[in-house]
């Protein structure tokens, strides 16, 4: 299975560089063909070409949309270096032109970078310059027909790229609007193409085109190629062979082709449902990891200490806001900010947790219902505090580049990197927490106090301090979870409430006082919800999950993994 990495900035720049390098020899060739007069000095030729290119770009800047389409069509046939840069720039909305009157007329640039640090590339001269701001420059506008045209044009260039990934993208682009020109181009490429994936893509594209043929034999062969292909366009096109018109007559006259088409559809649907299932599984794991992350801090405060901490959701929220603030503090290092935010959120939420424990919870040990109410009061105060400090509006935490994008397997199955990383992150957090609880002296004392407070005190454990630290640990972990969740959802004052009920459900379902229970409980609830979701809808799936847990608790009060032995008596 081939993996196309999308949206990697590095690949982008390499492509640009490669295109640039590749077009030099071709340009020389074009010059030879275009300028048959012998004895013309090379510099002169270069100059004429440059002038013509510059003139066309200048016209492009202010032309009407139909004229722009014409210009693009002309440009793509010329082999000048920088044409691809210019066209791709126009497509991405990165092509700007200078408004001021200059002696050499309007200049056009491809702009990249961000505010305060722009790079301007002149496609004609291939020279770059740095600028702080874009004053005096205006974006060249595009519209939908023009962009469609541009995509085709850029694809023609990319079809000759060195990287198979770029070539596949180009084929996919051409497939969107197959015409005889594109087919010619693809046929040509097929002869020289060596990469298997690209070859297959081109064959599919050609087969798609062959379906339009009037020869039934050609259509049959094309269907054989297309059978089991996962592309959406293929599916829709083959599906259309089976359609009937208004009077009930099939659109496809040949019965053999129709039969073949229905076989192909069956096979496609089979493969699609398989990948669809894989996707659902991944969604389930991802949702499960969110549930576990949200609940794992509670597994400490509620599970181990038995404190009903209704402010748990707000500790998650504080972690998420910490991640937002860290990003505000280091706006130029978004990629690093998220890594800084993790320990920062642990500290902030942990500290708030210790304050809550010392200030309120410790007076209420042994009165769980009162603890519930008091911590709920704290959660209200924290929510309103965030509203006062930050505003009631949601805040957006930027996903760093290295976490954005898709891990794409095919048209039907793709995984977003951020969900994948959060899944991994959850396992890391879980492993660390498990180590702290089972391999450090703090963990030992925490478990000792939760099992038998009096005995632990008799052995010299300062139970007060351990209570505060345990609560701080659970709260800190909630904060860390908040950092991860801030990448998935908006950060707002109400986000804590969204997680609190789920968190309690996971801990209760998994079995109080058991980290493994929380992990397995959360993951299975996540998987279960996502497996049910396609059949009943998201809200109904959630309701069913709640009802399931309510019923489950009737049957097994102590959850999936009940505590055994003496420590069970405490709960």
């Amino acid at each position: 299975m081939n993996i196309i990495m999308a949206r990697l900035p590095l690949t982008g720049s390499i492509i640009a560089l490669l295109c640039y390098l590749m077009w030099w020899p071709m340009q020389a060739q074009a010059d030879e063909e275009g300028m048959p007069e012998a004895g013309m000095p090379d510099e002169w030729v270069q100059e004429v070409v440059t002038d013509e290119f510059a003139d066309m770009l200048a016209e492009l800047a202010t032309a009407s949309f139909p004229r722009k389409v014409e210009l693009v069509n002309t440009l793509q046939l010329r082999g000048w270096p920088g044409v691809r840069d210019a066209l791709a720039g126009l497509l991405e909305g990165e092509l700007y032109f200078s408004q001021e009157e200059q002696p050499e007329g309007i200049r056009v640039y491809v702009v990249s970078g961000r505010e305060g640090d722009f790079t301007l590339l002149d496609p004609v001269t291939q020279q770059t310059e740095q600028r702080e701001a874009l004053s005096g420059l205006r974006r060249i506008t595009t519209n939908n027909p023009l962009r469609r045209n541009l995509r085709g044009a850029v694809a023609r260039f990319d079809l000759l790229d060195e990287s198979p990934a770029v070539r596949r993208q180009a084929v996919a682009e051409l497939r969107r609007g197959l015409d005889s020109d594109a087919i010619l181009l693809l046929r040509e490429r097929l002869v020289t193409e060596t990469h298997r994936g690209v070859t297959r893509d081109i064959e599919v594209a050609l087969a798609l085109y062959d379906l339009e043929s009037s020869d039934a034999e050609v259509r049959l062969t094309a269907l054989e190629v297309l059978s089991g292909e996962l592309g959406n366009d293929v599916y829709n096109r083959v599906q259309r062979l089976l359609a009937t018109d208004a009077s009930g007559e099939p659109l496809e006259p040949d019965a053999a082709v129709r039969h073949m088409a229905s076989l192909a559809i069956d096979r496609i649907e089979q493969r699609r449902s398989f990948f669809g299932f894989l996707e659902t599984l991944f969604f389930g794991l991802s949702f499960g990891s969110v549930l576990v992350l949200a609940a794992i801090g509670l597994a400490i405060t509620f599970g181990v200490m038995g404190v009903i901490n209704m402010a748990h959701g707000e500790l998650i929220m504080i972690g998420a806001y910490t991640s937002y603030v860290v990003q505000l503090l280091m706006p130029n290092h978004i990629g690093v900010a998220i890594l800084v935010a993790v320990p920062a959120a642990f500290m902030v939420s942990g500290l708030v947790g210790v304050l809550i424990e010392r200030g309120v919870v410790r007076f209420l040990y042994g009165r769980p219902l009162e603890t519930l109410l008091a911590t709920f009061g704290i959660s209200l105060i924290l929510q309103q505090l965030v509203r006062t400090v930050f505003s009631p509006l949601n805040r957006q935490v930027q996903t760093p580049d290295w976490m954005s994008g898709l891990l794409r397997f095919n048209d039907v199955f793709a995984i977003t990197y951020n969900r994948l990383y959060i899944l991994i992150f959850m396992f890391i957090v879980f492993a660390l927490l498990w180590l702290v609880m089972h391999r450090t002296s703090l963990g030992l004392k925490v478990r000792a106090v939760s099992q038998n407070r009096a005995m632990a005190r008799a052995m010299g454990v300062r139970s007060d301090r351990i209570d505060a630290l345990t609560f701080g640990l659970g709260s800190g972990i909630a904060g860390v979870a908040g950092v991860a969740l801030s990448l998935l959802t908006n950060v707002g004052p109400n986000m804590g409430q969204a997680y609190i009920i789920d968190s309690f459900m996971v801990v209760v379902f998994g079995g109080v006082g058991n980290l493994w229970g929380t992990l397995i409980g959360g993951m299975s609830l996540g998987l279960g919800t996502k497996l049910v979701e396609p059949h009943v809808g998201a809200v109904m799936a959630k309701i069913l999950m709640l009802v399931f847990i309510i019923l489950f608790i009737q049957k097994r009060k102590q959850g999936l993994f009940p505590q055994k032995g003496r420590s069970a008596e405490g709960h």
Partner: protein, 367 residues
């Protein structure tokens, strides 16, 4: 517990009850009379707004009593009592919806507006009969009662208690809220039921109807209070209190603990449903927001603030907290959640017996 303290406690309870009933009579009869007889310029003339506000407080007080009955006397903390309240409200709302008839925006004689909007063909089965007042009122009692019966039977039979019970009741009301938000449920989705016109043929906006509703609410609150007082004073009530103080012991003595808990829970649920049904015509709307777990916890706080296990404390708490809420949301909306949050913390830490407990303490110190 010695005889003397038991007797003295009963005496105190009687005093509280007497004050409560007195005040209720005064408010229930006095306010409508003052509204009708006194000129509008008079200081003592309550406006229609005040009337419906106090009416709303009284439905909250009834909800608070229903919570206090199970929490204060049986130690069952339900964080999902708004579920019963809202279900009662929806039953009433459905009746009021059917009374709109052709006066809706779409003018359909049978289907409520939102159903026409969703292009439903016919009335779903559970809307049948809701145009009859007696049937709707039966549903106000039956639906919350049945839910409490099924849920309580499941929970108490398997001895889910304490915090676990609180958490699953919260999950219950949360699940119901999500369900009622769905348009497919046929309860108006997000917008709920509103735009009511009249009840039993009387215009809901008319002063006479408002006064009628007000007095019915006062009557319901008084009867509900007396019923609860009677229950907790009866043999049944004493077993319930015993269960609160030592469930295992009560069970070993031979009482079927889960039966006592279940019937008390069902009665409490029905009471909350009645409160909801009275709430809806006075407020003019019912939507899924009423199921919100936050509301349920807020209602529990009324009881804590007033003082649990006294019934009249619950009423006092409901009125106090809601008056505060009305005041803050008008005068200083940002501060309301701070105030409520601080109230939660302060009351649980320093006033475990609520305002009533504080008053008693002061009285004893004086004596």
């Amino acid at each position: 517990m010695s005889d003397r303290s038991l007797v003295s406690r009963l005496m105190q309870h009687d005093l509280g009850s007497r004050i409560f009933i007195g005040v209720l009579l005064l408010v229930g009869l006095g306010m409508p009379l003052a509204h009708l007889l006194l000129p509008e310029s008079s200081f003592l003339h309550p406006s229609t707004y005040t009337l419906s506000l106090v009416g709303k407080y009284m439905t909250y007080a009834l909800l608070a009593i229903s919570i206090d009955l199970i929490w204060g006397y049986c130690g069952i903390l339900s964080l999902g009592h708004t579920a019963f309240f809202a279900l009662g409200g929806y039953a009433m709302g459905m009746y009021l919806m059917r009374q709109i008839g052709t006066r809706g925006v779409y003018g359909d004689p049978v289907l409520p507006d939102f159903m026409v909007f969703l292009s439903w063909e016919s009335l779903p089965w559970y809307w049948q009969g809701m145009d009859m007042f007696w049937f709707a009122m039966l549903m106000v009692l039956l639906v919350p009662g049945l839910l409490a019966l099924v849920f309580g039977w499941l929970a108490f039979r398997s001895r889910v208690a304490g915090v676990y019970f609180s958490i699953i009741t919260q999950a219950l009301t949360f699940a119901l809220m999500l369900a009622f938000f769905r348009n497919e449920m046929g309860f108006g989705g997000n917008n709920g039921l509103t735009d009511f016109k009249d009840i039993l043929g009387y215009d809901l906006q008319a002063t006479g109807t408002r006064i009628g509703l007000f007095m019915v609410t006062a009557l319901a609150l008084g009867l509900g209070y007396l019923a609860c007082r009677w229950i907790v004073g009866s043999r049944f009530g004493r077993v319930v209190t015993a269960i609160r103080d030592g469930e295992g012991r009560a069970r070993f003595i031979g009482y079927r603990v889960e039966h006592y808990k279940l019937w008390l829970f069902v009665f409490s649920g029905v009471l909350a449903g009645i409160a909801g049904a009275l709430y809806v015509p006075q407020v003019g709307i019912i939507n899924p927001g009423e199921f919100a777990p936050l509301n349920a916890i807020e209602a529990v706080v009324w009881v804590v603030v007033g003082g649990r296990g006294t019934l009249y404390g619950a009423v006092l708490g409901a009125v106090l907290v809601n008056y505060m809420k009305t005041y803050f949301t008008v005068a200083w909306p940002e501060a309301w959640l701070y105030a409520l949050g601080t109230l939660f913390v302060v009351v649980t830490l320093f006033l475990p017996r609520g305002v009533v407990g504080l008053l008693e303490k002061l009285r004893r110190q004086k004596a």
